[in-house]
Symmetry: C2
Subunit: 341 residues, 2 copies
C-alpha cells in the first residue's frame, strides 16, 4: 500500500476538487491510500457525498491554512497546524510515502526543503515540471527551487531528470540539453561554461549539448536543464505568451460576422489544440531528491489532475525512483573523485 498525504486546502478549487480527486484515485487503484490534511469537519462534510473504501482514507486534522499572500518561509515556520506542514510531517515521520499539494508553490518548496531531508548523494532538490511541446512533453528542471545554482547542482538535475523521464515517463534513453543563449562553444554565462565539461564527463548521460529557449517548444530535448531562475522564467513565460496569444486570437475572431461564423466552425478543433498546450494537464511537478516525495500540482488543478497526480505519486514510490537517483548520483560523484585523484 502506498500512502499519500494530500493537502485538502491547497489550490483555487479546494477542498471540493481535492477531495473529489482523492476519492477518484482510490477507485482507480487498490494499492493507494490517502491521508487528507486540513480542517476535519470541513473535509468530512465534503466526503459525505461520496462512497469510498474508508480503510484507505483518513483525515489528519489541520485547522490552519497557508495562503498565497503569506511569506512562504515564515508561514512554514509559524503555522505548524497548517495542511501543508502537517502533510510534510506525515512524510517526515514515515506515516506517508509522498505529499501532494496544489497550494502555495513557495510554501511547498520551502517546506519540502526545510522539513524533509535529502536522499544520499543529492546536494539540491530541483522542481521538475513537464511542459507541453509540439510533440510529447519535455521535463524542465529546475523550475524554481534553487537560485544561484552551482555547476555540480545542474549536473545532478540533469541526471535526476534523465531518471525521471526514463523511469516514470517511459522515454528510453532521454536526451538531455542545457539551456544557453547560443549554440557556440564560447556562448553562455559562467555557470553554463563551468557546467559543460562536468556534464560531458558523464558517459551514461545522453547529453546532446546546448538548447536555445526558442527550441524548447519544438521539443528540442526530453530533459531541459537550467538554474531555477532561468527555469522559472521559462515556465511562466510559456504560460504568459500562450494565454496572451490565445486571447488575442479569440478577440480577433469576434470582429465581424464572417469571422464569427468561422470561429464557430473551428471552435472544437481550436479548443483541442490549445488544451494540448496548457501547462496544467501534465500532472504534478515533483521536487526531486527528497526522502519520500513532495509533489506540487498547479493552483487551478481539478479533481482530474489531483487524481492523476496521486496515481503518479504511487508509481514514483513503487518504482523506487529515489533509490535509483541516489545510486546514480553516488556513482557520478565517484567519477569526479577518480578524475580529481
Amino acid at each position: 500500500m502506498i500512502k499519500v498525504a494530500l493537502d485538502a486546502m491547497g489550490g483555487d478549487n479546494s477542498p471540493q476538487e481535492i477531495v473529489k480527486g482523492a476519492v477518484e484515485a482510490l477507485s482507480k487503484s487498490a494499492e493507494l491510500s490517502v491521508i487528507l490534511t486540513g480542517p476535519k469537519e470541513r473535509i468530512e462534510n465534503e466526503l459525505k457525498q461520496y462512497t469510498f473504501d474508508k480503510s484507505r482514507l483518513r483525515i489528519e486534522d489541520a485547522p490552519e491554512v497557508i495562503t498565497l499572500d503569506e511569506s512562504p518561509v515564515a508561514a512554514i515556520q509559524k503555522k505548524k497546524d497548517s495542511s501543508i506542514v502537517r502533510g510534510l510531517m506525515l512524510l517526515k515521520t514515515g506515516e506517508a510515502d509522498a505529499f501532494l499539494s496544489a497550494g502555495s508553490s513557495g510554501a511547498v518548496l520551502a517546506g519540502g526543503q526545510l522539513k524533509i531531508g535529502r536522499i544520499k548523494g543529492v546536494d539540491r532538490t530541483p522542481l521538475a515540471t513537464l511542459i507541453p511541446t509540439e510533440t510529447t512533453p519535455s521535463l524542465l528542471l529546475d523550475c524554481g527551487a534553487n537560485v544561484d545554482a552551482k555547476p555540480q547542482w545542474l549536473l545532478q538535475f540533469a541526471r535526476m531528470g534523465q531518471i525521471y523521464m526514463s523511469e516514470v515517463c517511459g522515454i528510453s534513453n532521454p536526451s538531455v540539453k542545457l539551456v544557453n543563449i547560443g549554440l557556440e562553444e564560447e556562448k553562455g554565462n559562467n555557470l553554463i561554461k563551468e557546467t559543460k565539461p562536468l556534464i560531458e564527463a558523464l558517459p551514461e548521460l545522453n547529453y546532446q549539448g546546448y538548447i536555445e529557449s526558442r527550441e524548447i517548444p519544438h521539443h528540442g530535448a526530453d530533459v531541459v536543464v537550467a538554474d531555477a531562475f532561468t527555469g522559472n522564467v521559462i515556465l511562466k513565460l510559456y504560460e504568459g505568451v500562450g494565454s496572451t496569444l490565445i486571447s488575442a486570437v479569440r478577440k480577433g475572431l469576434m470582429t465581424d460576422l464572417r469571422t464569427k461564423i468561422g470561429a464557430l466552425l473551428i471552435k472544437p478543433a481550436l479548443k483541442k489544440t490549445l488544451r494540448r498546450f496548457g501547462t496544467e494537464d501534465n500532472g504534478g511537478a515533483p521536487l526531486l531528491g527528497l526522502k519520500g516525495l513532495v509533489m506540487k500540482c498547479h493552483g487551478n488543478a481539478t479533481h482530474v489532475e489531483i487524481s492523476n497526480a496521486l496515481l503518479q505519486c504511487e508509481s514514483f514510490v513503487k518504482l523506487g525512483i529515489n533509490d535509483k537517483i541516489s545510486e546514480a548520483l553516488l556513482k557520478d560523484k565517484k567519477i569526479f573523485e577518480v578524475n580529481e585523484n
Copy 2:
C-alpha cells in the same frame, strides 16, 4: 544630414531587400544619407533598378562576408574587409553616425563592443529589443550583450531603457520593472536582491518593482530589465512559443471539412492578429550606450523593416539620445557617490 552605414550583406534577404530598404528610406527622408557596405559590384547591380538621390547614397566596398556559422569574435578580428567590420569602422571614424545590420547578431554585438567605444558614464552596453504585448510594445533589455551582469549594470540598463522609451518611442514617464521569479521581497537570485536597493534609490526612475515573466506579454511594464542571459532566454522563448502555437493552430484547422471552411473565413483576421505578435515588426534593436549608434535588425528583415530601422537611426541621432544617456548616467553615479560619503 544623418549618415547611416548599412550592412548590405546582412540577413536572409540580402542584398536585395537591404538595398531596396535603403532606397525607400532615402525617398522618405531628405535628411538621411546611406553608406552601403558590401561587395561593390554586387550592390551596384542591385541599385541599377532604382532611381534615387545619388548624392545621398554611396557604396563602401567590403568584399568579405561574415556568415552565421562563424565564431563572432574571431570573425570580427579576422575579417577586416567584411561588410560588418567596414560599417563599424565608418562609425568609429565619424564618417557615419550609425551602423545598421541584419546580419549575425553575435558579430554585430561583439563588433560593437570591441570596435566602438562607450559613451561617458556607461559601463556596459545592453541590446534593447521592442517586444510585442497585448497592448503597445515593451522594451526588453539586456537581450544578449552582457552575461554575468553586475547590479550597477542593470541599474544603467533601466535608466537607458527609460530614456529610449520616453525619447524615441514617445511614452511619457515609462514604467520600469525588474524580471524576477516572484513578487515577494525575499524572492530572486543574488543579482536581483542586490540590484533592488540601487534601483530604488534613483528618484527619477519610474521603478515599479518586480515583474514575473508571465506578465511580460500582458504589458506588465514599459521597460523590462534583465541580465543578458535571462533577457535572451525571454526573447527567444517568445518567438518559440508563439511560432509553435501558431503552427499547431494552423495544423488543427486542417483536420476536416468543417474546420477547413472555418479556417478560410477567419484567415485574414487570424493573420492580422498573429502579425501583431511577430517580433520582427518593431524595427531595429539598438545596442545602447555606444558612441554613435549600432542597431541590429531581425535576420529575416524585408525592405519595410530596413527602411523603418534607417529612419529610427535618424531619429535616435537627431534626438541626441546618447547625450541624454550620458548626462543621466553621470548624474546617477553622483547620487551613489554622495550616498557612499
